[in-house]
Amino acid sequence: MPENADIPAPAEPVIKKTRGRISIIWFVPIISALVALTLVVRHLSSEGPTLHVFFQTAEGLEAGKTEVKFKDVPIGTVSSIVVSDDLTHVIVAIGLKRSAQAFARENTRFWVVRPRIGASGISGIGTLLSGAYIEADPGKSDQEQTEFTGLEVPPPITSESHGSQFTLYSRDLASLDLGSPVYYRRLRVGEVVSYELDKNGQGVTIGIFVNTPNDRLVTPSSRFWNASGIDFSVGADGLKVNTQSLASIAAGGVAFVTPSWAPNGQVPATAGSRFELLKDEKSALERPSGDPLYVWMQFDRSLRGLSINAPVEFVGVEIGRVVSVTVDYDAVTAHFPISVGAVVYPERIGHLFQGEKTADPDELARRFGDLMSKMVAHGLRAQARSGSLITGQLYIAIDFVPHARRLAFDGTKRPLQIPTAPGTLDDLQAQLSSIATKIDNIPFESLGVRLDKGLGELDTALDRFNTKLLPESEQTLAEARKVFGAATDALSADSPLQSDVRQTLDELNRSARSLRALTDYLSRHPESLLRGVPPDPSPEVQKPAPPTDTSKPKP
């Protein structure tokens, strides 16, 4: 067909046109490929190394889901969990994010965060709902590492915590535990981070961590003591209850302080220094006592109440403590004296022994022996005294006893034996017993009999008094009353006696008046005594009357 021949001619340009458009439409897959490639690249770049961590158990862990976090920021995901070939542990593969590559270092630690109740409180409550996750703490080493052994318990010190670690050694762990607080002046400054039994089993080494900036408070002279729980102590100085804080009652704790008397008290101790963990605050705050010296004493009395560790005081100052109380048998006298062994620190006696730290123990013992022999000659004796009447605790007092008998003392004997004297309590007892004896000697029986007899006599006397004396006295009294009644009658206003008396007094009055007239007359006429009264006394008498009359008419 001719038309058929025509068709290719116009068709040709059409095909060309489509060829031209090919390049444009192919941009679509190219762009999509680029997008996909970017995604892949981004994914690959965010993919970090894969780590393998060994754990005892995979409890709470889930492959593909459990996250690995640092400061609560996800840094990776658990990609698989398999049991090791020897079936002893699980191997957790962790796909780290690219940004978290720093965790693929030596010393990086991994642990599973689960709900925990420990000495330092409750942690990981959030994981109750969300499930466990793995926490990581980056190591500071430059060495790369991809295989780790996971921790079964969270480490107390992470790379975030700044401070110093110190080592304490102690006879036992007491009530300390991981996370137990470390106190400085009752302020929490750190915690117990590790503990382990010494290789020979003779003690415990405890690691503590003190946070910055308080770690500089630990100095070479710092004293550490166990501030665990409540410290009840009944000693010669009475009952003592001591505790650091409420939390330490439950969780235990360590306290430390640098005594004010300590040398180089300002220089911080180097991290990792070793310290002794002392029993209690008291022993921690004591001055260093120097070398101990063993002495012993023999007492003839019961030492009930004398316990091990009871103080040994020298003129009131504690210089040591009792280490043993044993019963001996003295075959010669056939009785049981009690031997008390004690450790004393001569350095505490004073500067006499101080500064002799370098001197060897023999020298120290010799000096102490010399001092003792001098003092014993002056009456120094050991006594068991009662420290507290309530608890009945005894302590050993080395003191001067008045009127002490002289005795032989060997200051060179080792161990030194300090002569003893009966204590104050012994004296008291002796006095009490002598009083008791005296009381005992009083003849209470005969006294009683006599007293009884005397009382009987008293009774009969009283009886007589009642039956005889009493009625008579009553009669006498009645009579007396009668006499008094008569007297009263006689003295009453209308009694004849009264009127008689009045009359008599009138008569007396009258006679007195006449007597006065007589004396008056006599004084005027004394001759009348001799001549008698003149015969007409009346005109004489009337005579003086006229003047009175004449005077009368005048007015």
Binding site: V28, A33, K65, G126
Partner: protein, 209 residues
């Protein structure tokens, strides 16, 4: 084989929209006198476009399946919730006993796109090679391609619905993730590829063969 004359052979072409038959000589490249659509004998660069779009879709199909399509967070899930890809969602539904939903999602998001890729790829190869021997089968496959195309967006729809409905802050949350975008792009690209493909190419070269 076929004795029926084709429009192209006798110098005619039809409008792809209204079906108006025009003379090819003066109609090619011009607007349809009835509806104004550009008249072409065949869709221009059909196979190349289809290939390009199909390839793009295929490329995007990978991130659509690998990247999470949805993020769900339930109460107390402090691990930051859970990202689920299409396949992990299917597995989760299956494990939770909802095998029916699992099957549905599996078919909608795995089977259907894969089928589309395979069928379209097959048809493109066949048409480039001058048409296969089994025209009827190829035509049926093309029909199937058009039918299943409608259902491709099911997955996108599920994610859209869930994220819209499940929004209880703190208790239960669902958010779409970038994977669903790629999945949507896959669906769109495959549909465009299907549209670009001109089924008439299937028999265009048959005569010569």
């Amino acid at each position: 084989m076929s004795t029926i004359a084709r429009a192209a052979e006798i110098g005619y072409l039809s409008c792809r929209v209204c079906g108006l038959v025009c003379e090819r000589a003066n109609a090619e490249g011009r607007g349809c006198p009835r509806c104004g659509t550009e008249l072409r004998q065949r869709k221009p660069a059909s196979i190349a476009r289809a290939w390009a779009l199909l390839t793009a879709g295929l490329i995007f199909y990978v991130p659509a399946n690998v990247l999470p399509v949805m993020h769900t967070q339930a109460l107390g899930d402090t691990n930051g919730g859970e990202d689920s890809t299409i396949m992990s969602g299917v597995i989760e539904f299956w494990q939770n006993g909802s095998w029916d939903i699992a099957t549905l999602i599996f078919i909608a998001s795995i089977v259907i796109p894969s089928t589309k890729f395979i069928i379209l790829g097959l048809l493109l190869i066949v048409s480039r090679a001058g048409g296969g021997a089994r025209l009827t089968r190829d035509i049926r496959l093309y029909r199937l391609l058009e039918i299943i195309g409608y259902w491709s967006m099911l997955d996108v729809l599920v994610v859209g619905l869930v994220t819209a409905v499940v929004q209880f802050r703190g208790v239960s949350e669902a958010e779409p993730r970038v994977g669903i975008l790629f999945f949507g792009l896959v669906v769109v690209l495959t549909m465009l590829a299907t549209l670009s493909f001109d089924p008439r190419l299937l028999w265009d070269r048959r005569k010569r063969a």
